[in-house]
Protein backbone atom coordinates (compact mmCIF):
# COMPACT_ATOMS: atom_id res chain seq x y z
CA UNK A 1 0.00 0.00 0.00
CA UNK A 2 1.31 3.41 -0.93
CA UNK A 3 0.75 6.28 1.51
CA UNK A 4 0.54 9.73 0.06
CA UNK A 5 2.76 12.07 2.11
CA UNK A 6 0.48 15.00 1.51
CA UNK A 7 -2.21 13.66 3.78
CA UNK A 8 0.15 13.77 6.76
CA UNK A 9 0.29 16.95 8.78
CA UNK A 10 3.51 18.43 10.15
CA UNK A 11 3.50 16.57 13.49
CA UNK A 12 2.64 13.28 11.87
CA UNK A 13 5.48 13.60 9.38
CA UNK A 14 7.93 14.15 12.21
CA UNK A 15 6.50 11.29 14.25
CA UNK A 16 6.72 8.86 11.33
CA UNK A 17 10.22 9.97 10.43
CA UNK A 18 11.39 9.44 14.01
CA UNK A 19 9.69 6.08 14.26
CA UNK A 20 11.31 4.85 11.09
CA UNK A 21 14.67 6.23 12.24
CA UNK A 22 14.48 4.36 15.55
CA UNK A 23 13.28 1.11 14.04
CA UNK A 24 16.11 1.27 11.49
CA UNK A 25 18.51 1.07 14.45
CA UNK A 26 16.78 -1.95 15.95
CA UNK A 27 14.49 -0.23 18.44
CA UNK A 28 11.19 -2.02 18.90
CA UNK A 29 7.92 -0.12 19.33
CA UNK A 30 6.54 -0.08 22.83
CA UNK A 31 2.81 0.35 23.25
CA UNK A 32 1.43 1.14 26.65
CA UNK A 33 -2.03 1.64 28.01
CA UNK A 34 -3.31 5.13 28.69
CA UNK A 35 -3.56 4.41 32.40
CA UNK A 36 -1.11 3.29 34.99
CA UNK A 37 -1.55 2.62 38.71
CA UNK A 38 -1.13 5.87 40.60
CA UNK A 39 1.26 4.15 43.00
CA UNK A 40 4.02 4.07 40.38
CA UNK A 41 4.12 7.87 40.18
CA UNK A 42 3.81 8.52 43.91
CA UNK A 43 6.93 6.46 44.55
CA UNK A 44 8.93 8.46 42.02
CA UNK A 45 7.28 11.83 42.32
CA UNK A 46 10.44 13.89 41.84
CA UNK A 47 11.18 12.15 38.55
CA UNK A 48 8.07 13.71 37.00
CA UNK A 49 8.36 17.12 35.43
CA UNK A 50 5.13 18.38 36.98
CA UNK A 51 3.98 16.85 40.25
CA UNK A 52 0.27 16.82 39.47
CA UNK A 53 -1.27 13.73 37.94
CA UNK A 54 -4.83 13.19 36.67
CA UNK A 55 -6.29 10.37 38.74
CA UNK A 56 -9.51 8.39 38.76
CA UNK A 57 -10.83 5.31 40.54
CA UNK A 58 -11.15 2.28 38.31
CA UNK A 59 -14.17 -0.04 38.54
CA UNK A 60 -12.19 -2.40 40.78
CA UNK A 61 -11.48 0.39 43.26
CA UNK A 62 -7.85 0.92 42.25
CA UNK A 63 -6.59 4.46 42.01
CA UNK A 64 -5.36 4.96 38.44
CA UNK A 65 -3.57 7.79 36.69
CA UNK A 66 -3.41 9.13 33.16
CA UNK A 67 0.27 8.78 32.45
CA UNK A 68 2.38 11.91 32.96
CA UNK A 69 5.50 10.02 31.88
CA UNK A 70 6.42 6.99 29.80
CA UNK A 71 9.89 6.06 31.10
CA UNK A 72 8.64 4.78 34.46
CA UNK A 73 6.16 2.44 32.77
CA UNK A 74 8.79 1.09 30.41
CA UNK A 75 11.17 0.31 33.25
CA UNK A 76 8.39 -1.32 35.26
CA UNK A 77 7.49 -3.60 32.38
CA UNK A 78 11.01 -4.37 31.19
CA UNK A 79 12.97 -7.45 32.17
CA UNK A 80 15.89 -6.86 34.50
CA UNK A 81 18.51 -8.30 32.20
CA UNK A 82 22.11 -7.30 32.87
CA UNK A 83 23.65 -9.31 30.01
CA UNK A 84 21.54 -8.11 27.12
CA UNK A 85 20.29 -4.78 25.83
CA UNK A 86 16.64 -3.99 25.22
CA UNK A 87 15.98 -1.20 22.77
CA UNK A 88 12.50 0.33 22.78
CA UNK A 89 10.84 3.39 21.31
CA UNK A 90 7.45 4.93 21.98
CA UNK A 91 5.08 7.51 20.64
CA UNK A 92 2.56 8.39 23.34
CA UNK A 93 0.46 11.19 24.74
CA UNK A 94 1.33 12.27 28.27
CA UNK A 95 -0.69 14.54 30.53
CA UNK A 96 1.07 17.37 32.33
CA UNK A 97 0.30 20.80 33.66
CA UNK A 98 1.16 23.51 31.20
CA UNK A 99 3.34 26.21 32.70
CA UNK A 100 1.45 29.06 31.09
CA UNK A 101 -2.17 28.16 31.72
CA UNK A 102 -1.63 26.00 34.83
CA UNK A 103 -4.13 23.44 33.57
CA UNK A 104 -3.59 19.92 32.24
CA UNK A 105 -2.48 19.55 28.68
CA UNK A 106 -2.06 16.56 26.39
CA UNK A 107 1.50 16.46 25.06
CA UNK A 108 2.68 14.21 22.26
CA UNK A 109 6.01 12.68 23.07
CA UNK A 110 8.28 10.44 21.03
CA UNK A 111 11.27 8.85 22.64
CA UNK A 112 13.43 5.82 23.14
CA UNK A 113 15.00 3.86 25.95
CA UNK A 114 17.98 1.56 25.88
CA UNK A 115 17.95 -0.71 28.94
CA UNK A 116 20.34 -3.42 30.11
CA UNK A 117 24.08 -3.80 29.73
CA UNK A 118 24.85 -0.22 28.63
CA UNK A 119 28.30 0.27 27.12
CA UNK A 120 29.87 3.30 25.47
CA UNK A 121 28.50 2.29 22.10
CA UNK A 122 24.92 2.29 23.43
CA UNK A 123 25.44 5.79 24.79
CA UNK A 124 26.91 6.93 21.49
CA UNK A 125 24.01 5.42 19.57
CA UNK A 126 21.45 7.17 21.78
CA UNK A 127 23.30 10.50 21.43
CA UNK A 128 23.57 10.02 17.70
CA UNK A 129 19.84 9.23 17.41
CA UNK A 130 19.06 12.30 19.53
CA UNK A 131 21.11 14.47 17.17
CA UNK A 132 19.55 12.87 14.10
CA UNK A 133 16.04 13.36 15.57
CA UNK A 134 16.74 17.07 15.94
CA UNK A 135 18.11 17.23 12.43
CA UNK A 136 14.98 15.56 11.07
CA UNK A 137 12.97 18.37 12.64
CA UNK A 138 15.16 21.33 11.71
CA UNK A 139 18.42 21.92 9.91
CA UNK A 140 19.39 24.44 12.58
CA UNK A 141 19.69 22.43 15.80
CA UNK A 142 22.14 21.89 18.64
CA UNK A 143 22.61 19.03 21.11
CA UNK A 144 24.07 20.15 24.45
CA UNK A 145 25.88 17.39 26.30
CA UNK A 146 27.01 17.27 29.91
CA UNK A 147 28.30 14.71 32.38
CA UNK A 148 26.79 14.97 35.85
CA UNK A 149 29.98 13.55 37.33
CA UNK A 150 31.80 16.76 36.47
CA UNK A 151 29.64 19.04 38.60
CA UNK A 152 29.02 16.49 41.34
CA UNK A 153 32.71 15.70 41.81
CA UNK A 154 33.40 19.39 42.40
CA UNK A 155 30.32 20.19 44.48
CA UNK A 156 30.56 16.99 46.57
CA UNK A 157 34.07 17.99 47.61
CA UNK A 158 32.62 21.12 49.29
CA UNK A 159 31.77 20.65 52.93
CA UNK A 160 28.39 22.39 52.77
CA UNK A 161 24.82 21.36 53.58
CA UNK A 162 22.57 19.49 51.17
CA UNK A 163 20.48 22.66 50.72
CA UNK A 164 23.57 24.64 49.69
CA UNK A 165 24.54 21.95 47.21
CA UNK A 166 21.04 22.13 45.73
CA UNK A 167 21.35 25.92 45.54
CA UNK A 168 24.68 25.57 43.73
CA UNK A 169 23.16 23.13 41.25
CA UNK A 170 20.32 25.56 40.61
CA UNK A 171 22.82 28.36 39.96
CA UNK A 172 24.72 26.03 37.63
CA UNK A 173 21.57 25.41 35.59
CA UNK A 174 21.10 29.19 35.26
CA UNK A 175 24.78 29.82 34.42
CA UNK A 176 24.59 32.14 37.40
CA UNK A 177 28.27 32.63 38.17
CA UNK A 178 27.88 35.67 40.42
CA UNK A 179 25.65 33.79 42.86
CA UNK A 180 27.94 30.77 42.83
CA UNK A 181 30.82 33.02 43.90
CA UNK A 182 28.62 34.56 46.60
CA UNK A 183 27.47 31.18 47.99
CA UNK A 184 31.04 29.82 47.93
CA UNK A 185 32.38 32.92 49.70
CA UNK A 186 29.64 32.79 52.37
CA UNK A 187 30.35 29.13 53.07
CA UNK A 188 34.10 29.40 53.32
CA UNK A 189 34.91 27.39 50.21
CA UNK A 190 38.47 27.76 48.92
CA UNK A 191 38.56 30.42 46.19
CA UNK A 192 40.39 28.07 43.76
CA UNK A 193 37.61 25.49 44.01
CA UNK A 194 34.91 28.12 43.62
CA UNK A 195 36.69 29.47 40.57
CA UNK A 196 36.99 26.00 39.06
CA UNK A 197 33.23 25.49 39.45
CA UNK A 198 32.49 28.87 37.85
CA UNK A 199 34.91 28.18 34.99
CA UNK A 200 33.35 24.82 34.23
CA UNK A 201 29.86 26.26 34.10
CA UNK A 202 30.92 29.10 31.85
CA UNK A 203 32.46 26.72 29.29
CA UNK A 204 30.41 26.43 26.13
CA UNK A 205 31.66 25.05 22.85
CA UNK A 206 32.25 21.99 20.72
CA UNK A 207 33.73 18.87 22.35
CA UNK A 208 37.03 19.54 20.56
CA UNK A 209 37.19 23.00 22.13
CA UNK A 210 36.12 22.12 25.65
CA UNK A 211 37.29 18.61 26.51
CA UNK A 212 41.03 19.35 26.16
CA UNK A 213 40.60 22.16 28.73
CA UNK A 214 39.40 19.62 31.29
CA UNK A 215 42.22 17.17 30.75
CA UNK A 216 44.48 18.50 33.48
CA UNK A 217 41.92 18.54 36.25
CA UNK A 218 42.47 15.27 38.13
CA UNK A 219 39.10 15.11 39.93
CA UNK A 220 37.27 15.26 36.60
CA UNK A 221 39.31 12.64 34.75
CA UNK A 222 36.79 9.81 35.12
CA UNK A 223 33.85 11.84 33.80
CA UNK A 224 35.90 13.35 30.99
CA UNK A 225 37.11 9.91 29.91
CA UNK A 226 33.52 8.68 29.77
CA UNK A 227 32.50 11.69 27.69
CA UNK A 228 35.39 11.16 25.31
CA UNK A 229 34.61 7.48 24.93
CA UNK A 230 30.94 8.13 24.19
CA UNK A 231 31.73 10.92 21.71
CA UNK A 232 34.67 9.24 19.94
CA UNK A 233 32.53 7.41 17.34
CA UNK A 234 31.19 10.79 16.13
CA UNK A 235 34.54 11.33 14.41
CA UNK A 236 33.81 11.75 10.70
CA UNK A 237 30.05 11.85 11.28
CA UNK A 238 28.34 14.98 9.99
CA UNK A 239 26.20 15.12 13.14
CA UNK A 240 29.32 16.01 15.11
CA UNK A 241 28.97 19.67 14.29
CA UNK A 242 25.67 19.78 16.22
CA UNK A 243 27.34 18.79 19.51
CA UNK A 244 28.20 21.25 22.26
CA UNK A 245 29.55 20.64 25.73
CA UNK A 246 27.58 22.53 28.37
CA UNK A 247 27.82 21.60 32.05
CA UNK A 248 24.84 23.78 32.90
CA UNK A 249 22.67 20.92 31.61
CA UNK A 250 21.72 19.36 34.93
CA UNK A 251 19.10 16.76 35.72
CA UNK A 252 17.92 15.51 39.09
CA UNK A 253 20.87 13.58 40.53
CA UNK A 254 18.53 11.31 42.44
CA UNK A 255 17.62 9.70 39.12
CA UNK A 256 20.22 10.60 36.58
CA UNK A 257 23.96 9.96 36.52
CA UNK A 258 26.64 10.11 33.89
CA UNK A 259 25.90 11.66 30.54
CA UNK A 260 22.84 13.92 30.19
CA UNK A 261 21.80 16.04 27.24
CA UNK A 262 19.26 18.53 25.91
CA UNK A 263 18.37 19.44 22.35
CA UNK A 264 17.55 22.92 21.06
CA UNK A 265 16.16 24.14 17.77
CA UNK A 266 16.67 27.67 16.52
CA UNK A 267 13.34 29.46 16.85
CA UNK A 268 11.92 27.41 19.73
CA UNK A 269 12.56 29.09 23.09
CA UNK A 270 12.91 25.92 25.20
CA UNK A 271 14.61 22.58 24.81
CA UNK A 272 12.64 20.15 22.66
CA UNK A 273 14.62 17.04 23.56
CA UNK A 274 15.88 15.85 26.89
CA UNK A 275 17.58 12.68 28.04
CA UNK A 276 20.46 10.93 29.70
CA UNK A 277 21.64 7.93 31.69
CA UNK A 278 19.30 7.10 34.55
CA UNK A 279 20.94 4.20 36.37
CA UNK A 280 19.89 5.67 39.70
CA UNK A 281 16.22 5.52 38.79
CA UNK A 282 16.79 1.87 37.79
CA UNK A 283 18.34 1.24 41.21
CA UNK A 284 15.39 2.87 42.94
CA UNK A 285 13.11 0.54 41.01
CA UNK A 286 15.23 -2.45 42.12
CA UNK A 287 16.89 -3.04 38.76
CA UNK A 288 20.48 -4.06 38.46
CA UNK A 289 20.94 -3.00 34.87
CA UNK A 290 21.66 0.46 33.51
CA UNK A 291 19.64 2.61 31.15
CA UNK A 292 19.85 5.59 28.82
CA UNK A 293 17.15 7.29 26.78
CA UNK A 294 15.53 10.50 25.67
CA UNK A 295 12.20 12.07 24.77
CA UNK A 296 11.29 14.58 22.07
CA UNK A 297 8.48 16.98 22.98
CA UNK A 298 6.39 17.70 19.95
CA UNK A 299 4.05 20.28 21.46
CA UNK A 300 6.50 23.11 20.84
CA UNK A 301 7.05 22.34 17.18
CA UNK A 302 3.91 23.97 15.82
CA UNK A 303 5.75 27.28 15.88
CA UNK A 304 8.37 25.99 13.50
CA UNK A 305 6.47 25.06 10.37
CA UNK A 306 8.30 27.51 8.14
CA UNK A 307 11.67 26.02 8.96
CA UNK A 308 11.92 22.52 7.67
CA UNK A 309 14.37 19.82 8.57
CA UNK A 310 15.84 16.95 6.60
CA UNK A 311 12.65 14.99 6.13
CA UNK A 312 10.75 17.68 4.25
Amino acid sequence: MQINDNVLNYDEKIIFSLRSLYSKYGYAPYKMSKFEEYDLYVKNKDFLISDSVITFTDTNGKLMALKPDVTLSIIKNSKDACETVQKLYYNENVYRISKGTKVFKEIMQVGLECIGNIDNYCIFEVLMLAAQSLKNISADAILDISHLGVLSSIIDSFSVSYEMKQALMKCAAEKNLHEISAICADNGIEPEKAELLADIISFYGTPDEILPKLKDIPELSEAVEQLEAALAPFEGNELKEMLRIDFSVVSDMKYYNGIVFKGFINGIPNSVLSGGQYDKLMEKMNRKSGAVGFAVYLDMLERLENQKGEIF
Binding site: D144, K175, N176, E179, F264, N266, G267, I268, P269, S271
Partner: protein, 208 residues
Protein backbone atom coordinates in the same frame (compact mmCIF):
# COMPACT_ATOMS: atom_id res chain seq x y z
CA UNK B 1 21.88 38.42 6.43
CA UNK B 2 23.16 39.41 9.82
CA UNK B 3 21.32 37.89 12.74
CA UNK B 4 19.82 40.62 14.90
CA UNK B 5 20.13 40.39 18.64
CA UNK B 6 16.85 41.31 20.34
CA UNK B 7 17.23 43.10 23.65
CA UNK B 8 14.34 43.79 26.04
CA UNK B 9 14.87 46.85 28.19
CA UNK B 10 12.77 47.72 31.24
CA UNK B 11 10.86 50.95 30.63
CA UNK B 12 11.86 53.78 32.92
CA UNK B 13 14.92 55.17 34.66
CA UNK B 14 16.58 51.80 35.15
CA UNK B 15 16.13 50.95 31.46
CA UNK B 16 17.81 54.15 30.35
CA UNK B 17 20.77 53.38 32.55
CA UNK B 18 20.89 49.89 31.07
CA UNK B 19 20.83 51.28 27.54
CA UNK B 20 23.73 53.61 28.38
CA UNK B 21 25.71 50.57 29.49
CA UNK B 22 25.02 48.73 26.26
CA UNK B 23 25.89 51.84 24.29
CA UNK B 24 29.21 52.16 26.08
CA UNK B 25 29.86 48.51 25.32
CA UNK B 26 29.55 49.27 21.60
CA UNK B 27 25.93 48.33 20.89
CA UNK B 28 24.58 51.78 20.26
CA UNK B 29 21.27 52.61 18.65
CA UNK B 30 21.00 56.41 18.49
CA UNK B 31 17.34 56.48 17.44
CA UNK B 32 16.41 55.29 20.95
CA UNK B 33 17.29 58.70 22.35
CA UNK B 34 14.76 60.46 20.13
CA UNK B 35 11.85 61.69 22.11
CA UNK B 36 8.89 59.76 20.73
CA UNK B 37 6.53 56.97 21.60
CA UNK B 38 8.11 54.28 19.51
CA UNK B 39 8.81 51.06 21.35
CA UNK B 40 11.18 49.30 18.96
CA UNK B 41 14.55 50.63 17.80
CA UNK B 42 16.98 49.02 15.42
CA UNK B 43 20.59 49.48 14.43
CA UNK B 44 21.29 47.02 11.67
CA UNK B 45 24.95 47.88 11.54
CA UNK B 46 25.54 46.98 15.16
CA UNK B 47 23.14 44.04 14.79
CA UNK B 48 20.90 45.02 17.68
CA UNK B 49 17.19 45.66 18.13
CA UNK B 50 16.05 47.19 21.41
CA UNK B 51 12.53 47.37 22.73
CA UNK B 52 10.96 48.88 25.82
CA UNK B 53 8.69 46.67 27.87
CA UNK B 54 7.16 46.82 31.33
CA UNK B 55 9.95 45.91 33.80
CA UNK B 56 8.06 42.95 35.23
CA UNK B 57 7.51 41.57 31.71
CA UNK B 58 11.17 41.48 30.61
CA UNK B 59 11.62 37.97 31.97
CA UNK B 60 8.59 36.73 30.02
CA UNK B 61 9.83 38.19 26.72
CA UNK B 62 13.18 36.51 27.28
CA UNK B 63 11.79 33.18 28.49
CA UNK B 64 9.50 32.95 25.44
CA UNK B 65 12.27 33.93 23.05
CA UNK B 66 10.75 37.23 21.81
CA UNK B 67 13.89 38.81 23.26
CA UNK B 68 17.25 37.05 23.21
CA UNK B 69 18.56 38.91 26.22
CA UNK B 70 17.16 41.44 28.65
CA UNK B 71 17.69 43.14 31.96
CA UNK B 72 15.42 42.32 34.88
CA UNK B 73 15.48 42.85 38.64
CA UNK B 74 16.32 39.86 40.81
CA UNK B 75 12.93 40.35 42.50
CA UNK B 76 11.15 39.51 39.23
CA UNK B 77 13.39 36.47 38.66
CA UNK B 78 12.69 35.15 42.16
CA UNK B 79 8.97 35.76 41.86
CA UNK B 80 8.34 34.29 38.40
CA UNK B 81 11.21 31.77 38.25
CA UNK B 82 11.49 32.02 34.46
CA UNK B 83 13.52 29.37 32.63
CA UNK B 84 16.37 31.63 31.55
CA UNK B 85 20.11 31.98 32.07
CA UNK B 86 21.06 34.61 34.63
CA UNK B 87 24.36 35.69 33.14
CA UNK B 88 25.50 38.74 35.08
CA UNK B 89 24.81 40.86 38.10
CA UNK B 90 24.94 44.35 36.62
CA UNK B 91 25.44 45.81 40.07
CA UNK B 92 22.95 48.65 39.86
CA UNK B 93 19.28 49.13 40.72
CA UNK B 94 20.34 47.93 44.14
CA UNK B 95 17.72 47.49 46.84
CA UNK B 96 16.52 44.67 49.05
CA UNK B 97 13.47 42.48 49.53
CA UNK B 98 12.44 42.95 53.13
CA UNK B 99 9.77 42.30 55.71
CA UNK B 100 8.38 45.50 57.24
CA UNK B 101 5.84 46.16 59.97
CA UNK B 102 4.44 48.92 62.15
CA UNK B 103 6.99 50.22 64.61
CA UNK B 104 5.23 48.70 67.62
CA UNK B 105 4.67 45.30 65.96
CA UNK B 106 5.47 42.19 68.00
CA UNK B 107 5.20 38.83 66.24
CA UNK B 108 2.98 36.35 68.03
CA UNK B 109 4.18 32.89 66.93
CA UNK B 110 0.96 31.44 68.29
CA UNK B 111 -1.13 32.61 65.36
CA UNK B 112 -0.92 32.70 61.59
CA UNK B 113 1.04 35.68 60.34
CA UNK B 114 -0.83 37.74 57.79
CA UNK B 115 1.47 39.01 55.01
CA UNK B 116 0.53 41.56 52.33
CA UNK B 117 2.75 41.59 49.24
CA UNK B 118 3.13 41.89 45.50
CA UNK B 119 5.67 39.06 45.69
CA UNK B 120 3.62 36.07 46.84
CA UNK B 121 6.14 33.41 45.87
CA UNK B 122 9.09 35.16 47.51
CA UNK B 123 7.07 35.64 50.71
CA UNK B 124 5.87 32.02 50.66
CA UNK B 125 9.37 30.64 50.08
CA UNK B 126 10.90 32.82 52.78
CA UNK B 127 8.39 31.92 55.46
CA UNK B 128 8.37 28.23 54.61
CA UNK B 129 12.18 28.25 54.87
CA UNK B 130 11.87 29.44 58.48
CA UNK B 131 8.86 27.24 59.16
CA UNK B 132 6.34 30.00 59.84
CA UNK B 133 2.68 29.51 58.97
CA UNK B 134 1.38 32.50 56.98
CA UNK B 135 -1.61 33.79 55.10
CA UNK B 136 -0.88 35.83 51.97
CA UNK B 137 -2.84 38.84 50.78
CA UNK B 138 -1.80 39.60 47.24
CA UNK B 139 -1.89 43.34 46.48
CA UNK B 140 -0.74 45.14 43.34
CA UNK B 141 0.46 48.42 44.85
CA UNK B 142 0.46 50.71 47.90
CA UNK B 143 1.45 47.73 49.99
CA UNK B 144 2.52 49.99 52.87
CA UNK B 145 -1.06 50.81 53.66
CA UNK B 146 -1.98 47.20 54.54
CA UNK B 147 -0.55 47.04 58.09
CA UNK B 148 -1.80 50.54 58.88
CA UNK B 149 -5.37 49.58 58.05
CA UNK B 150 -5.01 46.27 59.84
CA UNK B 151 -5.32 44.33 56.57
CA UNK B 152 -2.08 42.48 57.37
CA UNK B 153 0.48 42.13 60.18
CA UNK B 154 3.52 42.67 57.97
CA UNK B 155 4.42 43.39 54.35
CA UNK B 156 7.04 41.87 52.07
CA UNK B 157 8.22 44.46 49.59
CA UNK B 158 11.19 46.10 47.90
CA UNK B 159 12.95 48.64 50.09
CA UNK B 160 15.29 51.11 48.44
CA UNK B 161 15.91 53.98 50.85
CA UNK B 162 13.21 53.24 53.39
CA UNK B 163 11.67 56.72 53.10
CA UNK B 164 8.19 55.49 52.16
CA UNK B 165 8.26 53.11 55.10
CA UNK B 166 9.36 55.80 57.51
CA UNK B 167 6.71 58.24 56.33
CA UNK B 168 4.09 55.59 56.96
CA UNK B 169 5.45 54.75 60.38
CA UNK B 170 6.76 51.34 59.28
CA UNK B 171 10.19 49.78 59.72
CA UNK B 172 12.16 46.89 58.24
CA UNK B 173 12.24 43.93 60.59
CA UNK B 174 14.02 41.42 58.33
CA UNK B 175 15.94 41.50 55.06
CA UNK B 176 15.08 38.52 52.85
CA UNK B 177 17.46 39.00 49.93
CA UNK B 178 19.46 41.77 48.25
CA UNK B 179 18.18 42.80 44.81
CA UNK B 180 19.92 44.25 41.77
CA UNK B 181 19.58 44.29 37.99
CA UNK B 182 20.58 41.08 36.19
CA UNK B 183 21.42 40.32 32.58
CA UNK B 184 19.30 37.36 31.48
CA UNK B 185 19.32 35.33 28.28
CA UNK B 186 16.94 32.95 26.56
CA UNK B 187 18.35 29.42 26.67
CA UNK B 188 17.97 28.75 22.95
CA UNK B 189 19.28 32.18 21.94
CA UNK B 190 22.34 31.64 24.12
CA UNK B 191 23.25 28.70 21.88
CA UNK B 192 22.40 30.08 18.47
CA UNK B 193 23.61 33.65 19.07
CA UNK B 194 26.42 32.64 21.41
CA UNK B 195 29.15 34.78 19.89
CA UNK B 196 27.03 37.96 20.06
CA UNK B 197 25.90 37.31 23.63
CA UNK B 198 29.38 36.47 24.93
CA UNK B 199 30.69 39.59 23.21
CA UNK B 200 28.14 41.75 25.02
CA UNK B 201 29.00 40.06 28.33
CA UNK B 202 32.70 40.66 27.80
CA UNK B 203 32.17 44.32 26.99
CA UNK B 204 29.83 44.86 29.93
CA UNK B 205 32.37 43.28 32.26
CA UNK B 206 35.03 45.66 31.00
CA UNK B 207 32.73 48.54 31.84
CA UNK B 208 32.37 47.49 35.47
Amino acid sequence: MKQMLNIALPKGRLGEKVYDMFEKAGFECPSIKENNRKLIFENEEAGVRYFWVKPSDVAIYVERGAADIGVAGKDILLEYEPEVYELMDLGFGKCRMAVAAKKDFRDDPNRTLCVATKFSRIAQNYYSSIGRDIDIIHLNGSIEIAPILGLSDVIVDIVETGTTLKENNLEVIETIVPISARLIANKTSFKFKNSQITKIMRELQKND
